[in-house]
């Protein structure tokens, strides 16, 4: 692949399949739907094993406390209680989980339950196994824990002050990671710019996409074989295995993972490995299968939250024509009490250093900190959406302060369509896109000009109208080598996924994949590409539901996360299907007495292209290879299995630890959203009047599934922007730990979403597709932009991602107070 000048080679040339088309690209109805619509799905709580016990976790009511003693004797005396497990026992049975942070944070001792000290509200301190869930819960009430409460820190910046209580004594401070990302020459840019826009503080709040199905598992440590079976809804099972195995002394060969239907994940179900570890230990101790279903309270308080990030001292150099040269910022990311996927978030944002823009000079002084709050985990748009929101705030604020048109300023600074593939200041390659056309389409969808008129007409009515724009990226197919940027010693790089496509005895096409879908329709899209390659119908393709390690179809990266299935998952399926196609043609040519080049596959038959009547159905091929093999020449019989495995590997190299440069992701899906809001002058109530989402994700395999992902990502963003936030008080108590208090967005909260599309196939993927589904958090940028547009002159800037009516009311009032606005401009 080369740039328009033909000088730079970014990746080895990719051969794109010419066979896709008969089924790929069409909105084929989903294979999954029948069972889910009829209540026949198999979710984790639907599973059952003979002799199983039910688990209840006893959790810390303190955000920070020394555990003086735990007495389980009264609980264990209850008839029907099988076993208990305490943190103290865990300390003896488990090695601390592997840490990805370099020292000193890498010295952190993290266990599956609190050992010695509890560090956030809801941290498990003991668990009880009993014959029913109700009994386990009752018995847990009888466990006596003596706590010695400690000083609490919940502020992600104050936590690194010398007087703050230290969470992990072995680290010696609350700094989880610190590093300087410095690209271009931002000092030069600030010195030579015509204007410098300074923004004091922006804050990205803590929320979670909260799947409707909470975490759960049925775990059995088999005493006979020593194999531990984990039937769970963990969404990244091989990552979980890498943490669980060394912690409790199990080889990967002694761990079996499976899942069928998962009721939503959004990243939050990646870090459930801590619970799986506790369940494995409990099962071994009790000699029984153990079943655990997390309650909603437990999920909200103690599964994982999205990263909270505060941006300080932002300086933006701007030229008089509107060219934004870049920015510098100090970022503080609050990881909560433990590092369970972190500090990967400290590098993952750098997949999108300049956002959708041509910024050349960017300096981010990045600190990740520890606080007495729920540990964070990857949440839809993970770590990039915080950074992308910062960038969109910068662009809007620059436009407003320097009197540029927001649309024109974006178009001027966007990476231009003819510049793809585009190399960012840190060496990432944006594969394709057309951001100006997407912006035009989004504005057209909301009828921007008509709203501008209504905005003028609304003046003085008490109902302020604001129009917002958000442009974001959904970078997909990670290069895990970026982990070396935060810790050069980490043994990870590249990415990949495995698939097996086989022809079974009666000619059935069966597909297994290493992914663990949570509603993304993998069975359907995998069947579409397989059908295209094998010349049959998707109805003839059976894609095995869910993940099963025993199917031997996995690599270390297997799972469903981080916008990559369309590339890695389908890349693996396509590769395996091509191999099977080759074998079918080979056998068919022999049986038809023809050359392989004379053969075509169509309608589930192997046939002569020149004479379609000379045809063998797939069953004829399969039955011969499996059950009538003496009919075939020995050499041919030895060379086919009809059971074809393929591992798709994106063409990555290892990024550079010192310069923090490299190709961090393969594809860059993009979003431009536009919204119209009405802000009530008296109450600060925000109502969305119109909303449009334009998404570009390369060649689509199933447009309806893609649109569904766009709707869902938009719904999450709208919910977070206006309703959903995790609020802790000064004692570290979570104030909204039910769905009622947390206010997961309802049908009255998410507006109708108009969708538009633009297709820019990726030149780097085998099918032209890009990973998608996370959506870049575009609604957070868009709604902040719209609210700011609605505010009266002189108001404070919109400084937070979460803008409930109370906060908007304060912003409205700030206009009359003529106080600091959170921004200043220095012009030359």
């Amino acid at each position: 692949m080369s740039t328009p000048t033909g000088e730079t080679t970014y990746y080895p040339e990719v051969e794109q399949s010419e066979r896709l088309g008969a089924w790929s690209g069409k909105s084929v109805p989903r294979k999954e739907d029948k069972r889910l619509l009829k209540g026949q799905g198999a979710f984790v709580d639907d599973l059952w094993m003979h002799r199983q016990g039910h688990v209840h976790f006893l959790r810390s009511p303190y955000a920070h406390a020394r555990i003086v003693s735990i007495d389980v004797s009264r609980a264990e005396a209850v008839p029907g209680v099988y076993a208990t497990l305490t943190g103290e026992e865990v300390g003896a049975l488990q090695q601390p989980f592997f840490q990805m942070a370099p020292e000193p944070a890498g010295l952190m001792k993290d266990y599956c339950m609190a050992v010695g000290k509890a560090r956030y509200i809801g941290e498990p301190v003991a668990c009880v196994l009993a014959e029913s869930a109700e009994l386990a819960r009752d018995a847990a009430e009888l466990v006596e824990v003596v706590y010695e409460p400690l000083e609490v820190v919940v502020d992600g910046i104050a936590t690194i002050e010398p007087q703050a209580p230290v969470l992990h004594e072995e680290i010696g401070s609350n700094v989880a990671w610190h590093g300087l990302y410095d690209y271009g020459d931002v000092d030069w840019a600030l010195e030579h710019a015509d204007h410098v826009v300074r923004i004091d503080r922006l804050h990205f709040h803590r929320f979670s996409s909260t799947p409707l199905e909470t975490s759960g598992a049925l775990v059995n440590w088999d005493p006979g074989t020593g194999v531990v079976e984990f039937r769970s809804n963990n969404q990244m099972p091989m990552f979980a295995a890498m943490f669980i195995g060394p912690a409790i002394g199990l080889g990967i060969d002694h761990m079996q993972f499976s899942s069928q239907d998962i009721g939503g994940g959004f990243g939050i179900k990646i870090t459930s490995y801590t619970y799986l570890t506790a369940l494995a230990l409990l099962s071994r101790k009790a000699g029984r299968p153990v079943k655990w279903s997390e309650s909603r309270w437990e999920h909200l308080a103690a599964s994982a939250h999205g990263n909270e990030r505060t941006f300080l001292d932002i300086e933006v150099p701007v030229m008089s024509d509107g060219t934004i040269l870049g920015f510098k910022v100090r970022a503080f990311d609050d990881a909560g009490a433990y590092l369970r996927y972190e500090p990967l978030g400290a590098v993952i944002w750098s997949q999108v250093v300049p956002g959708n823009y041509r910024f050349k000079h960017v300096r981010v002084d990045y600190t990740e900190t520890l606080t007495n709050k729920c540990p964070v985990g990857p949440n839809r748009g993970y770590s990039r959406l915080q950074h992308l929101w910062l960038i969109e705030r910068i662009v809007d604020i620059v436009a407003k302060e320097l009197n540029f048109d927001r649309v024109a300023l974006r178009k001027l600074n966007y990476v231009q369509p003819e510049e793809f593939p585009y190399e960012t200041p840190n060496g990432c390659i944006y594969d394709s896109g057309d951001y100006p056309a997407m912006l035009d389409r989004a504005l057209e969808l909301i009828d921007h000009d008509a709203w501008l008129e209504r905005q003028l007409a609304s003046a003085g009515t008490g109902k302020r109208i604001g129009i917002g724009i958000g442009s974001t990226l959904d970078s997909g197919t990670n290069n895990f080598g970026q982990s070396r940027i935060i810790n050069s010693a980490l043994p990870f790089s590249g990415n990949g996924e495995a698939a097996v496509v086989r022809l079974d005895l009666y000619g059935e096409v069966t597909v297994t994949i290493g992914t663990s879908p949570q509603g993304q329709g993998h069975e359907t899209t995998a069947a579409q590409v397989t059908a295209d390659i094998l010349g049959c119908s998707p109805d003839q393709v059976h894609v095995v539901a869910g993940y099963n390690k025993a199917a031997n179809t996995y690599v270390g990266f297997s799972g469903t996360y981080a916008s990559q299935f369309a590339v890695t998952g389908l890349g693996a399926v396509m590769g395996a299907a091509e191999r099977l196609r080759g074998e079918i043609i080979k056998v068919g040519a022999c049986m038809l007495g023809a050359e392989e080049s004379d053969i075509e596959l169509a309608d589930g038959f192997v046939r002569l292209a020149a004479n379609p009547d000379a045809a063998i159905p797939f069953i004829g091929i399969a039955a011969t290879v499996f059950a009538n093999v003496a009919e075939l020449p020995g050499e041919l019989a030895d060379s086919v299995t009809l059971n074809c495995r393929y591992v798709y590997r994106p063409p990555f190299t290892v990024p550079d630890h010192e310069t923090k440069r490299g190709k961090l992701t393969l594809t860059y899906a993009s979003q431009v959203h536009a919204a119209v809001v009405e802000v009530d002058d008296e109450t600060g109530q925000v109502t969305i009047l119109d909303y449009a989402a334009v998404d570009e994700c390369g060649r689509k395999v199933n447009p309806k599934i893609v649109e569904g992902q766009v709707h869902g990502a938009t719904g999450h963003g709208v919910g977070a922007a206006l309703y959903e936030t995790f609020e802790y008080d000064g004692d570290g108590q979570l104030l909204n730990s039910t769905f009622g208090d947390y206010h997961a967005a309802t049908s009255l909260d998410v507006p109708h979403i108009r969708t538009g599309e633009i297709e820019c196939p990726s030149p780097f993927t085998p099918n032209g597709a890009k990973g998608m589904g996370e959506g870049g958090g575009a609604p957070l940028s868009t709604i902040a932009s719209a609210i700011e547009d609605a505010l009266p002159p002189g108001a404070h800037i919109v400084f937070d991602t979460h803008n409930n009516s109370e906060r908007v009311h304060e912003l409205l009032r700030s206009a009359a107070q003529a106080g600091p606005r959170g921004v200043e401009v220095i012009s030359r």
Binding site: D33, K38, F43, D138, L212
Partner: protein
């Protein structure tokens, strides 16, 4: 505490089958449906009556089965998702509309939402978008942003699949 406590005999009809069964006083209806009867299409999402994953139809009304004790269902007729559609594979028209319009993703909220749609359309065969949104308020979906759920219900009501505002 300890043990299952007092037990009461109840008569309850579920999907046309009558059950006379002794249930512990504190057993929730949702657990009775899932664990005792083994009907796993009724899901649990929040325990606090907010999410609607456990919605079932009780005497013609949509209720949240995590908010009701099994003993309170004595004498009631209950319909769960398993009552819809012919046999093992058949989909009823509402389910067909959800499939056609991609009204589900992970499928966890889906049984509750489909039953919600069934009760709504029984009362109001041609609801407006606003009426559908009001009816759905107690059923949370985290995957779809509700757009295609509303399209599906409009389609099931026999109108066009495209929602206009």
């Amino acid at each position: 505490m300890a043990g299952e406590g007092a037990v009461h005999a109840i008569d309850v009809t579920v999907n046309g089958t009558s059950h006379t069964v002794a249930v512990p006083a504190r057993r929730l209806l949702v657990h009775f449906i899932r664990e005792t009867l083994g009907l796993r299409g009724t899901h649990i999402g929040c325990d606090t009556g907010n999410c609607g994953a456990c919605s079932v139809i009780c005497d013609g009304q949509l209720i949240k089965s995590c908010m009701m004790l099994a003993v309170q269902a004595d004498g009631c007729e209950i319909e769960t998702i398993e009552s819809l559609g012919e046999g093992v594979d058949g989909l009823d028209p509402i389910q067909e509309a959800f499939k056609e319009h991609h009204g589900l993703q992970c499928g966890y909220c889906t049984p509750g939402i489909v039953l919600n749609a069934k009760t709504l359309l029984a009362e109001n065969p041609h609801p407006t978008e606003a009426e559908i949104r009001r009816a759905l308020k107690g059923n949370i979906c985290r995957c779809t942003g509700y757009v295609n759920i509303i399209r599906s219900i409009v389609a099931a009501a026999g109108a066009q699949g495209e929602v206009t505002r």
